[in-house]
């Protein structure tokens, strides 16, 4: 069986060394080229991964320490990555401790948390590292005991020989460090796993329940100043003048000054997105003093006009014009309608869609809209910086330190080896912390103040100074022949400022005549990755549309999708179909069976189903809705996932449950609107978040059991929740929901 379906192709190198004080330190590094069917989904990762390294430390006391390279934002990598290591190393899980590594590209590699990639990326290297270390320990024991290495066995950190000889790993670790690293490694077959597939608790759970200072906002050093930024009240505005006289009179205030983030003409990387360039900064001794004094600050703003940015990337440097208009949601919606009627860029074409639509017995056309969404991580953006003349220390919550270093180096005029970045546990990420502008801001402020500084965004800053999920629209058309067969499919999608279309996703490949088109409208409202970028809109629109098409075809929504997937498998249309039709069908069948779809006993519920593939995993949900207090309430959900081997089942279940809750919340309530450039939501009083009383009573999660290499879970379960909720709402209300958030259409203010 081919277990490697991840598309990772790598060569690895291992290096052993003796730790000071004894013990084995194993460095694993590897070079791999990353093959993703859709590179844009990988947040524009470089073509070649940098050299990646992880550290394994085996101490004389038999403790094993792993330096976790990837930052933790709740996806539980600090537990799942060490599990892979411990599995092959064959150690007692109780003896494994985990430390978060600093940013160290030479030793720890890409260190990127995002794109549902951590587990996928580390699957082989960490197991190989574990297996290599185990092999070296066996060799060390064999030499010590003068027995053939093949006769030395291991169990939970103990080396044994049939003669009765036995030793702890720690006893042999120093000697093992001198053993050449084995070239050929045999990894365990999945059937032999003892740690992987066995649930392990979050390695930081006890720190969390006792309130240990794990997060960026908790980080503190003596003499640290607090900084906040007064940003313009609207996108498209900039600072004209300010009067800080009253602010400076307030206790504890050190300085108020302006700071330009990027100099004109500075070339930016793809993740250097920043919302405002001219910063008005307030610095003081403590959080409250700065918050309080900030209220006295008088700032005058003016229209910024059009801006030009130079954005570097694989395709070379592009000059991008950011329009200066003060945009409003209502006018944006009108603008989107106008653009939707214009010709767009063709992204994929199969067969002859125009003729098929012309000759169709029935054409269904529906348009879907989705608003900007704010990430609203519970921990607002913040970063610690201490920049001196010859070096910089930065500490805080960050998903992709490697992407920030080049810009930091330019802004601070320091070589990368003089910049130390440490990643704290993140109070949520969801893509937001892939954009390091708040770290640059902190660094520049510290440089100016010549002091250690913590930059902190208030909730209002965080929500109105965002890198949002774009605003999207898509029009879907389906053509049915006289026998109700789907003969053509057309999707034309657009957005501000990017379109949502994944042209090679289902149902591409399952329909003879297919057309996908995209268009976009430039905007000064800053956007970026938001949990399953683009998919989080598409799954709502497309899965809702397919439900409607199934109904028009007189078919059960699951059976209809399965028929299309059968076609995609047996006689696929086109060549670049991203998904595996078997696995896609697998989650649908699993959720159908587990939810007793169409079986008696569920009459109480209005049921909606949706399935989606993104970020290399497959997800399907059945959402069971009831009316409670006059409002639709998702009481029960069945989820089916295929992410290959499930490393840590309980944590994986938690992840899927959370994604379901997040999906329900964002589908029903999530939206950020603008008026004259100003965000109309600023805190949780008017940006509605799903709460305990709205969470389902049960989310039953089922994983497809297979031995395929694992893929991620952070994003894939999220997008189809939107579609399933829309389809259940239809069953409940008898009308379709085309515009997110759905609550606008279901719930009236009393």
């Amino acid at each position: 069986m081919n277990q490697d379906k991840t598309g990772l192709d790598r060569r690895s190198f291992l290096k052993a060394s003796l730790m000071s004080g004894g013990g084995l330190m194993l460095t694993v590094s590897w070079l791999s080229s990353f093959k993703s069917a859709d590179k844009s989904e990988m947040l524009n990762l470089p073509e070649q991964w940098a050299t990646l390294n992880g550290y394994i430390h085996i101490m004389p006391d038999n403790k094993v320490k792993l330096i976790c390279p990837n930052p933790e934002f709740g996806q539980n990598v600090m537990t799942s990555l060490p599990m892979m290591l411990a599995e092959e190393l064959d150690v007692d899980w109780k003896n494994v401790t985990v430390e978060m590594g600093p940013h160290d590209p030479a030793k720890l590699g890409a260190q990127f948390t995002g794109g549902s990639n951590s587990v996928r990326m580390y699957w082989k290297p960490l197991r190989e590292a574990g297996a290599a270390a185990r092999q070296m320990l066996r060799e060390a024991a064999a030499q010590t005991w003068n027995v053939p290495v093949g006769e030395v066995t291991t169990k939970a950190g103990i080396l044994s020989h049939s003669s009765g000889k036995s030793a702890k790993y720690g006893d042999m670790a120093s000697k093992a460090a001198s053993i050449p690293v084995p070239k050929d490694l045999k990894l365990k077959a999945p059937k032999d796993f003892t740690i992987i597939r066995n649930s392990k608790k979050n390695v930081e759970i006890k720190k969390i329940t006792s309130g240990k200072p794990l997060f960026g906002l908790d980080y503190s050093v003596d003499g640290m100043l607090i900084a906040m930024i007064q940003h313009p009240p609207a996108f498209g505005m900039k600072l004209k003048s300010f009067d800080a006289a009253e602010t400076l009179k307030m206790p504890g205030i050190k300085d108020v000054f302006t700071q330009k983030l990027y100099a004109d003409d500075l070339e930016q990387g793809g993740f250097d997105t920043r919302t405002f360039n001219d910063l008005l900064v307030i610095v003081g001794n403590s959080t409250w003093e700065v918050m309080n004094a900030r209220k006295k600050l008088v700032a005058n703003w003016e229209p910024a006009g059009d801006l030009k940015d130079k954005i570097g990337g694989r395709g070379g440097v592009k000059e991008v014009t950011i329009p200066g208009a003060l945009e409003s949601t209502t006018t944006q919606l009108q603008q989107m309608q106008e653009y939707a009627a214009k010709p767009a860029q063709e992204l994929r074409r199969d067969g002859d869609p125009e003729s098929a639509f012309k000759n169709a017995a029935q054409v269904i056309e529906r348009t879907y809209n989705g608003p900007f969404l704010a990430h609203n991580t519970m921990e607002p953006m913040n970063f610690f910086a201490h920049v001196t003349a010859d070096k910089a220390l930065l500490v805080g919550p960050l998903q992709a330190p490697g992407w920030t270093e080049p810009m930091l180096s330019k802004l601070l005029n320091l070589p990368p080896d003089k910049i130390e970045i440490q990643m704290t546990r993140m109070g949520g990420g969801f893509g937001r912390r892939a954009y390091g502008h708040y770290l640059y801001e902190a660094a520049l402020i510290s440089k100016k103040m010549k002091a250690p500084v913590k930059l902190m965004y208030t909730r209002e800053d965080d929500m109105t100074y965002g890198i949002y999920r774009p605003m999207y629209t898509a029009t879907y058309r389906a053509a049915l022949d006289a026998n109700k067969n789907l003969i053509a499919f057309h999707v034309k999608g657009g957005g501000i400022p990017e379109h949502p279309i994944h042209a090679n996703r289902f149902p591409a490949g399952a329909v003879d005549n297919y057309l996908a088109e995209g268009w976009q409208i430039a905007s000064n409202i800053t956007i970026g990755a938001f949990r399953a970028p683009r998919s989080n809109f598409n799954a709502a629109a497309e899965q809702s549309f397919l439900d409607e098409v199934a109904e028009a075809a007189g078919k059960d929504p699951i059976a209809f999708r399965l028929e299309l997937l059968k076609r995609a498998k047996e006689k696929p249309v086109g060549k670049n179909n991203e998904y595996d039709a078997d696995r896609y069908a697998g989650v649908l069948e699993l959720v159908r069976d587990k939810s007793n779809w169409n079986k008696p006993g569920n009459e109480k519920y209005k049921r909606g189903v949706a399935a989606y593939f993104c970020h290399n995993s497959y997800a399907a949900h059945v959402v069971d809705m009831v009316t409670r207090d006059g409002q639709p309430y998702v009481e029960r959900v069945f989820s089916a996932m295929d992410c290959g081997i499930v490393i840590n089942p309980d944590a994986a279940t938690n992840m899927v449950q959370g994604a379901v809750v997040d999906g329900i919340g964002n589908a029903l309530y999530g939206q950020l609107t603008h008026k004259d450039g100003a965000a109309q939501q600023s805190n949780f009083h008017n940006y509605r978040m799903i709460r305990m009383n709205e969470a389902p009573k049960s989310v039953e999660v089922h994983f497809v059991q297979n031995d395929l290499d694992p893929t991620g879970l952070g994003e894939p379960p999220f997008p189809p929740v939107f579609g399933a909720v829309a389809n259940a709402l239809y069953k409940m209300k008898g009308k379709r929901y085309y515009n997110q958030p759905f609550k606008d259409e279901t719930e009236k203010v009393i």
Binding site: K206, I208, T209, D650, V661, H685, K697
Partner: protein, 159 residues
């Protein structure tokens, strides 16, 4: 500025503070206890919940002066050994994802269990709807509160 002595987790902290300063910032910045979190600053999210004479107040809108002469308990002081039934249940159920909101969740749940040792799902909704979890761990919070209720019964420990 005024001299205010806060009793936090059974320890006196003599502080020099603006009496209008929210208790949250006194706890975090002046007493240096970072377990209590800032989430919204407007009493909407519950990340900052501490116990003030046993009540689950939101420290982000509670002036520090209100706490003078009263007993403040933060997540760090809920139990000495991380063993309050709610903490143990949170560990057993492995509730958190990112973990940021859970100090507040645990402090709110502890008051619920003290006042209603055997809460129903409805009681949990009523008590916990003020605490936002952006990762969506609500189902596990609910389960952990039931577990904590069982632990409390078994051990006789009260929050």
């Amino acid at each position: 500025m005024a001299k205010i002595t806060l009793n936090i987790n059974k320890k006196d902290y003599p502080l020099e503070a603006d009496p209008q300063m929210p208790l949250l910032w006194a706890i975090r910045d002046l007493a240096g206890l970072k377990g209590t979190k800032y989430g919204c600053g407007v009493a909407q999210c519950g990340a900052c919940v501490v116990h003030l004479d046993g009540e689950a107040v939101r420290s982000c809108v509670t002036k520090v002066i209100r706490a003078a002469g009263k007993k403040v308990v933060t997540i760090e002081g809920l139990s000495e050994t991380n063993s309050h039934p709610v903490q143990k249940a949170w560990q057993e159920i492995d509730v958190p994802q990112c973990g940021y909101c859970h100090s507040g969740q645990i402090m709110s749940a502890a008051v619920l269990l003290r006042e209603k040792p055997n809460p129903t799902d409805q009681d949990i909704d009523d008590a916990m709807a003020g605490n936002i979890c952006r990762c969506g761990t609500y189902l596990r919070i609910r389960e952990a509160i039931h577990t904590a209720a069982d632990l409390q019964k078994k051990t006789g420990t009260k929050g």
